[in-house]
Structure formats: structure tokens, C-alpha cells
């Protein structure tokens, strides 16, 4: 028996197996009851100790001797390998606490109250993201190495000699055959069994084309400068070089403008972690463009109105820059390379309304310039409109397009000598700045413009308006462009961070796909040359590369013809409209001319004409007054309901079931009152022409009356019981119609169908559902198609069928 007390060391160290006196003493003092394995129980009768809060542990002394400090394990040699002998040891006391009576008074039961005072649930919102890992990739140029130092590897002779020497090495001679054996086996193995070849090639040949368009963000190119600037332009390098140039610049005046860095970055499409290169300028770069023939020369527009060119092989600083006096007087918004013999010409536009041609070789003076004057043949600086965007198609080198701050789209002739020749046409396209203009990559006669909440498609030969335009979107557009991979598709960026994809062939009314690609407003979008990706720039300065699904970048031959037909059809339609408009105008003019000639007569004539028109337009005929006043009131009721429904649809009634119920209830009450009236004044049959409202008011009175009567009856009955009479004898003098509180309505309803057939009015009253007023089709259909509309109440169903036609006829009369 071993009792160890964790507190006192010296006792537990005492020799074993006999109990030393000290241990027992201490145990007694501590109030511990020592328990033995065998006869220990006999000694249990130890006196109760005052405090008994000691923990004691019982161990089998056979194997263990536990001290607080060290732990020894004993096992005799002869016991090795034997099965362990387990001892039964059921009851143990780990903690013994005696009750203390004097403390019992202090015992108090606690009331546990769980209470929360907040009405909302505690919530926490955390978000974590892994740190952005920036990678650099380097390529390694391996030149032949690892030769011993003394060997010159350029000397072929020595190299050969060394190789020969190596080949004669014994280990080489041993190694090669063994390696060869292995390789040989595998080569033969490969030849025998084409393990990786594709079997059943035919089975997979039918690939399902995904019909649901998708566009996913695959990469984010974050602006490396600390200060975030909106992306103003993304352009892809020509010939699918896998590069894009990005200009970052706020369009509006920003007080912090000077703190922004003035760099435009070149990104390698494959590497979104860091830009491949950059160009910088003394001011913000608004627009940056690759030369279509040469990836290295770049032209850009600056915020100061200047224009600059760079050679990105040379360095980030501009090669040439225009002087202030020659350049734009306001922000230069765009610069574009144009076709020229030297390939060094480009032109730019600015918010000062000027369009200037430049030659890269000599930027100190301008080649030519013109003003974006909306009036043909004027071209004056005073009237010039600020130009926000410019488009030039290299396959149509004689023309270019200009979009202005105030929503005009102008078609200009490049080669025009006089201002009369320059401006070909102007469209009033938008109610705000034109954000982008782009010619269709296939049908260059057609172009789109984007601004405010619309995208419009124009054809050059339709001079009045666009041939197609989109429905107003939910958010402002910031940029739109054709999808290069699918020329019938459009992509537009919006301020709510969504990209919209339109397809003129598939869906003209709504966008094919609208996906949110960023939490920040998008500022620009540019499809890659291959057409498989779209890069969208945000105001926070990052570019999101969006991968398009196959249906958004494939364009077949039938599609092309379909698109041609689509443009053709729309422009023809527009032309017809134009022609018609012109005819009408002409006719009007002629009439006006006539009126002027004829003088007073003409005025009269026009007056009469107006009168006629008024008569014609007044289709609504006042209905004949009803002979039956009941009907009139009913009609009024139905007309109000119909109006309400027209205005709000079925929403006029917060709950259809409720509404139906309410109707039936009112009607029922009305009818009951009617009945009663009939009963009371049965001689006055002609006079009971009451509208619903009247019926209801009467009903109120009768209700009051009925309640009173009921009270009387109750009182009398109570009296009778008190007197000891039979309560059944108590009779009411008057016959009381029971009224119908809403709760009892269901039980009472089956009475309804038992109405007499001659009470037409009642059935009419009962018809809230069979509304005869001609409804807007959608509304009516909606009502009908709703399964909830068919009320489960039986009387309604029955009545629905019967009077419907009759009512229809009446109502039709009323309307016509």
C-alpha cells in the first residue's frame, strides 16, 4: 500500500514496503484514510478529521514507486515475458470532502438568468488574403562549361582529345552498356506499346460548344506606383506581340495631380506581377499608342496638351515633344498614328477642339490642323467643341471620326483642303461626352459610339441618326469597343465595375452577358488582338485581364454574312425613316407656304384641321347613363377597382387571397342586408336600388340592431335561467339575421349558392374576380395564371362561370 502526498516529499521517499510511523502520522494529521489492498478496510475506523481536502493516490506497489521527482520502474527478471496480472480495484476516492454544517446556512441557490439585451446577433466580418507574391523570371543562357580549367573549350582539338580520353575511362566503359541496356529496353517498350497515343479519337471529335457565355478574370495587373491613378487607355501591341501599353491619368482635374507619377507602363501579358517597361513624360500621359508597324515607337498625348514620342529601346524619356505654343491649349485627349509614306505621321485631338497633324521627325511645328466645329464649312476656334475621342481606321485612311464632349460624333475627311470638305457629317449621338468611337473591324462603314447610358451603332450612309442603339443601361458607360474576335460583339465598361457584352446577331435587346470584374468603376476596356481576352482598366489603377469563352471570340463565315445583312437591314430601315421624315417635312413646308399665300383662310383651315384631329384622337366616348341606378354605382365601383389594377396590377391588393376574401365578405354582408330589406319592405320592390356603399351603410345599421337584439335575448335567457324557467321558451320578437364576423365567414359561406336565381344584382356583386373591364393583357393574364387566384372557396368557383358573359357584354357596352 502506497500513499503519496504530493505536498510532502520526505514521506514518500520513505523506505518500503513497511509503513514508517512518520507517514502514518502525517496521514492521520492530514485526515487521509489509508486504504489497503487486502485487509486495509479493517483499519478504516480512523477518527474524522476536521479538514479533508487532501488528494491521495493509490498505487500498486508491486510495479511502481512514485515520487514527485523521479519515477522508477521495477520489474523482476523472472517476470519478464509473463502476462500482466491485473488487479481489481473498483472503488477509489480521489477527493473526499466532508460537509461542514455551519456553512450550510450560507448556502443559497442562485437564479440563473440568461438574458441578451441586444436585438441583433453579434457578427464579425473578417477578410484575409494572402500577400501578393511578386515573381521575377530570368532566363539562363547556358554556354558550355564544366570543363577542367586548363582546357580551352574554343580549341576544338583539345576538346576532342579530352573527350576521347574520357571515353577511354574504365568507369565510362562500364557504365555505358548498363545504361544502354536500360534505355534500350524502354525504347523498345515505347515502340511496342504506344502508351500515350490517343485511342478512340473519333469518339471525342464531337465537342460540345458551351452556349452560356462566360468571361472570367484571369489576371490582375496592379499599378506599381504607390499613388493610384485611373487607367486612361489600354492598347495592345500590334501583331499579337503579347504586350500592352497602359496610360494612367485622371480625366478630370485632380488637385493631387502633381503628386501622381507621370509614367505609362508596358506590360507583358504573360507576366502580371511587374511591368516590362515604362515611359515617362513631364506631365501625365493620357494616351499611349504603339506604332502599327513598329512596336518600338510609341506616341502619346500629355495632360498639358503636348504630344510626345518615345522609342522604348532607347529609354523611358520622350524622344521628341511638342512645344507648348504649337500644341493643344487644353488637355490632349488622344493621339493616333496615321498612314503615311514615311510612317512617322500621327494626329492628336484635345479639349480645345483642335485636331493637329504631326510628323514625328519634326514636332516643333504642326503639319496641319482643323477645328471640331459642328457647323459644316465654318471651322472656327470659337465654335470648336472639345474633342474627347478620336478614331482612325488604317484600312480607311481618308476618314477619321471625332467624338466631342457634348455628345456629337463627327465624320471628317482627312484630305479635305477647305473646311467645307473636311466635315462630312455630324450626328447628335449622346447627352454627354462621347467616351469612345470605334469602327467595326470587318464592316468599316459602321462604327459604334459610346456615351451616357447608350451605345449606338452608326452607318456612314445614314446621315441623320444611328442605325441601332442599346437600351439605357443601369450605369454609365465609360468605354465600348468591338470584340476583335467576334466583330458582331461589343464590349462595354461601366462605372459599376461591370463589363457588358453585346451580340448584335444573337440578342439585340439585352446584353449577352454582364459580369462584374471589379469593385471599382471601370474606366476603359480593350480587347486583345487575338480576341480571346479583354483588358479592362479600373479607376484604382489595376487592369483586369478577362478571358472570354469560345462563343465570344469565334466568328464564322455565316456570322459574317448575317452581320452584313443585319447592318444592311438596319441602315435600310433607317434610310426609309429618313426619307419619310423628309417627305413629311417637305409636305409641312408646302402647307405652310400655302397657308402664307392664302392668309386668313389658311388659318381657318388649320383650325378646322385641329378640330378634326381632336375629334379623331378623342376615341373615348362618354357612355350612356344607366337606367338602373344600382348598375351605375356598381360600375363606378368596378371602374375604380380596374383603375387601381391597371395602375398597380395585382399589387393593388397586398394579398390576393385576402382581397378575394374581403370582396366576398363585403358582398355577402351587402346581400344579407339586401335580403333583409327585401324581407322587411317586400312591397317596395322597385325601390331597392342600392349601390355597394349604400348597402354597406345599411348593413352597419342592421348589424347594430342585430347585436342589440342578441344581447336582449341573452339577457332574457339569463333571467329565465335565474328564475328557473326553460330558456328555450324565451323568444325574440323580431327575426334577427345573424351577422358574419370575419372569423365565421368560412362556415357561413355555403349558404351563398342557394340564392334565388332572380337576384342578378347579387351575383354581380359577388364578382370581384370576373372583372369585365378590358385589362392590359399582361395584367389580366397574370391574374389568371396565378394559381392562388383560383380561390378554394366553392361559391366563388360556381359564380365565376355563370354571370361572366353577361357582364362582359354590359361592360363592353359601357366602354364603347
Amino acid at each position: 500500500m502506497d500513499v503519496t502526498n504530493m505536498d510532502n516529499e520526505e514521506e514518500s521517499k520513505a523506505p518500503r514496503p513497511s509503513f514508517p510511523e512518520s507517514v502514518r502520522d502525517s496521514l492521520d494529521v492530514g485526515g487521509v484514510k489509508p486504504r489497503g489492498e487486502g485487509g486495509g478496510e479493517g483499519r478504516e475506523a480512523t477518527p474524522k478529521a476536521p479538514i479533508t481536502t487532501t488528494i491521495h493516490r493509490v498505487q500498486s506497489e508491486k510495479f511502481f514507486e512514485v515520487t514527485p521527482i523521479n519515477f522508477e520502474y521495477h520489474k523482476r527478471r523472472e517476470e519478464f515475458g509473463r502476462q500482466p496480472q491485473f488487479l481489481e480495484d473498483h472503488s477509489r476516492i480521489h477527493v473526499g470532502l466532508n460537509e461542514i454544517e455551519k456553512l450550510e446556512d450560507n448556502y443559497e441557490e442562485m437564479m440563473v438568468v440568461e438574458e441578451t439585451e441586444d436585438t441583433y446577433v453579434d457578427q464579425r466580418n473578417n477578410s484575409t488574403n494572402t500577400g501578393r507574391a511578386e515573381y521575377k523570371s530570368f532566363s539562363l543562357l547556358h554556354t558550355e562549361g564544366a570543363w577542367p580549367k586548363e582546357i580551352n573549350i574554343r580549341d576544338a582539338e583539345i576538346v576532342d582529345k579530352t573527350k576521347k580520353k574520357m571515353q577511354r575511362d574504365e568507369s565510362f566503359l562500364d557504365a555505358v552498356p548498363s545504361m544502354a541496356k536500360e534505355a534500350d529496353y524502354l525504347v523498345r517498350y515505347n515502340n511496342t506499346l504506344p502508351l500515350y497515343s490517343r485511342y478512340y479519337r473519333k469518339c471525342n471529335s464531337v465537342r460540345r460548344r458551351d452556349t452560356k457565355p462566360r468571361a472570367n478574370v484571369v489576371a490582375v495587373y496592379r499599378c506599381p506606383s504607390a499613388k493610384k491613378r485611373p487607367v486612361s487607355r489600354i492598347t495592345f501591341a500590334p501583331e499579337s506581340a503579347g504586350r500592352m501599353a497602359v496610360a494612367y491619368c485622371p480625366y478630370e482635374y485632380d488637385p493631387m495631380l502633381r503628386e501622381h507619377s507621370n509614367e505609362a507602363f508596358f506590360w507583358e501579358v504573360e507576366n502580371p506581377t511587374r511591368p516590362e517597361g515604362l515611359v515617362r513624360a513631364p506631365a501625365q500621359i493620357v494616351d499611349v499608342r504603339y506604332h502599327p508597324k513598329d512596336v518600338h515607337s510609341i506616341c502619346g498625348a500629355l495632360f498639358t496638351g503636348q504630344v510626345a514620342t518615345w522609342d522604348n529601346r532607347v529609354g523611358p524619356n520622350p524622344q521628341y515633344m511638342t512645344p507648348y505654343e504649337a500644341s493643344h491649349e487644353d488637355v490632349c485627349t488622344s493621339a493616333l498614328w496615321i498612314n503615311s509614306k514615311t510612317g512617322t505621321e500621327f494626329f492628336s485631338c484635345g479639349l480645345d477642339g483642335k485636331i493637329i497633324w504631326w510628323d514625328e521627325r519634326n514636332l516643333s511645328e504642326r503639319l496641319d490642323f482643323t477645328f471640331a466645329d459642328p457647323v459644316k464649312g465654318r471651322s472656327e476656334a470659337v465654335h470648336a467643341l472639345p474633342v474627347t475621342t478620336l478614331d482612325y481606321e488604317h484600312t480607311l485612311p481618308t476618314k477619321f471620326l471625332v467624338g466631342t464632349q457634348f455628345g456629337q460624333v463627327m465624320v471628317f475627311m482627312k484630305k479635305g483642303k477647305t473646311p467645307m470638305d473636311r466635315l462630312i457629317n455630324m450626328y447628335k449621338a449622346h447627352k454627354g461626352p462621347v467616351r469612345s468611337i470605334h469602327r467595326n473591324p470587318v464592316f468599316i462603314k459602321n462604327f459604334l459610339s459610346c456615351g451616357d447610358y447608350h451605345i449606338r451603332v452608326f452607318a456612314e450612309d445614314c446621315r441623320d441618326s444611328g442605325i441601332m442603339w442599346t437600351a439605357p443601361s443601369d450605369a454609365l458607360y465609360t468605354y465600348a469597343n468591338w470584340l476583335t474576335g467576334r466583330p458582331c460583339g461589343l464590349v462595354a465598361s461601366r462605372v459599376d465595375g461591370c463589363l457588358e457584352f453585346w451580340d448584335l446577331l444573337i440578342q439585340g435587346t439585352t446584353s449577352m452577358l454582364t459580369t462584374k470584374v471589379s469593385h471599382h468603376p471601370l474606366s476603359t476596356v480593350c480587347p486583345s488582338d487575338a480576341g480571346t481576352h479583354v483588358a479592362a482598366g479600373t479607376v484604382s489603377g489595376d487592369i483586369r485581364m478577362v478571358k472570354l469563352c469560345e462563343s465570344l471570340h469565334t466568328f464564322g463565315k455565316p456570322d459574317k454574312t448575317a452581320l452584313a445583312a443585319c447592318f444592311e437591314r438596319e441602315s435600310r430601315r433607317e434610310k426609309y425613316l429618313e426619307q419619310r421624315g423628309r417627305e413629311i417635312r417637305l409636305a409641312k413646308k408646302q402647307k405652310e407656304g400655302k397657308a402664307k399665300n392664302t392668309g386668313g383662310d389658311g388659318a381657318k383651315f388649320s383650325f378646322s384641321e385641329h378640330g378634326q384631329e381632336a375629334k379623331k384622337s378623342g376615341k373615348y366616348k362618354k357612355p350612356e347613363p344607366f337606367k338602373n341606378p344600382q348598375l351605375r354605382v356598381d360600375k363606378k365601383f368596378f371602374v375604380t377597382i380596374a383603375d387601381e389594377k391597371k395602375k398597380q396590377g395585382i399589387n393593388a391588393f397586398p394579398d390576393k387571397k385576402m382581397a378575394a376574401k374581403a370582396f366576398s365578405q363585403v358582398m355577402y354582408k351587402g346581400r344579407m342586408a339586401e335580403k333583409k330589406k327585401q324581407m322587411i319592405k317586400s312591397n317596395k320592390t322597385e325601390d331597392w336600388t342600392l349601390g355597394v356603399e349604400q348597402v354597406m351603410s345599411v348593413n352597419d345599421e342592421t348589424l347594430k340592431q342585430a347585436n342589440q337584439d342578441m344581447d336582449d335575448v341573452e339577457k332574457k335567457r339569463a333571467d329565465a335561467i335565474a328564475k328557473g324557467e326553460d330558456p328555450e321558451n324565451v323568444q325574440l320578437k323580431e327575426i334577427v339575421e345573424p351577422d358574419f364576423p370575419s372569423g365565421r365567414l368560412e362556415e357561413e359561406l355555403p349558404v351563398v349558392p342557394m340564392m334565388e336565381p332572380n337576384t342578378e344584382l347579387d351575383t354581380e356583386d359577388l364578382e370581384p374576380e370576373a372583372e369585365p373591364e378590358p385589362e392590359p393583357a399582361g395584367c389580366w393574364l397574370n391574374l389568371k395564371s396565378e394559381p392562388a387566384a383560383a380561390e378554394p372557396e366553392p361559391e366563388e368557383d360556381e359564380e365565376n362561370d355563370a354571370p361572366g358573359e353577361e357582364e362582359d357584354g354590359e361592360e363592353a357596352d359601357y366602354l364603347d
Partner: protein
């Protein structure tokens, strides 16, 4: 030190190489030593140097990978399947044999 190997031994190497080359689809064979020098090659020099350099790196990397996973294990063979061909690398103690095979021909 100019101990010439027996003719038969040298012949044996040639034989082995010839046998492999005789198989269908075998494009080339390079034997490199542990320093990455192409000792024997049936391909043009530049290409064999390239192969030697890249395969040496790959061998080191994959060997260390295998060792890392299980120190008792060792790399015995690498077969690299590519779009154009299969590269068989057979590492020995100090040498490695690279066989480039064009399996599409087979």
C-alpha cells in the same frame, strides 16, 4: 597512364550505342558525365550541349527531390514525355545517358 582499354570493351560501348540508335524513332543519344559535359553524342554539338546542361539540372533537382521524400530511395530513370518526343534519361553513378526518341513515328 596511357592504359589503353581492351578493344572489346570499347567496342562494347559502340555496340550498345549502335543498338539503341538502330531502334525505330530514336533521334539521338548523348552520354554526359556528372559535370554535365557531353562525352559522347550522336547529335550536333550545340544541341547536345543544351541537352547536357538542361538534363544535368533536371537530374540534380529530381534526385534531390526523391532523396528529400525518402532518404533511402534513389532516382533510377527519368522518362519525359513531351509533345514532340520522349526524353529518356538513365542516370548512373558518374554518367547519364540521354536518349531522345520520337514515339509518334512508332
Amino acid at each position: 597512364m596511357s592504359r589503353y582499354p581492351k578493344y572489346s570493351e570499347s567496342n562494347e560501348v559502340e555496340e550498345a550505342i549502335k543498338r539503341i540508335l538502330s531502334h525505330k524513332g530514336v533521334v539521338g543519344l548523348v552520354v554526359i558525365n556528372h559535370e554535365g559535359i557531353p562525352i559522347k553524342s550522336t547529335m550536333e554539338n550545340a544541341l547536345s550541349v543544351q541537352y547536357a546542361a538542361q538534363v544535368t539540372q533536371l537530374l540534380d533537382k529530381s534526385r534531390s527531390m526523391i532523396k528529400e521524400l525518402d532518404s533511402n530511395n534513389d532516382l533510377t530513370f527519368i522518362r519525359l514525355r513531351t509533345k514532340k518526343h520522349e526524353v529518356l534519361v538513365c542516370p548512373e553513378k558518374d554518367y547519364a545517358m540521354i536518349v531522345i526518341q520520337n514515339p509518334t513515328e512508332s
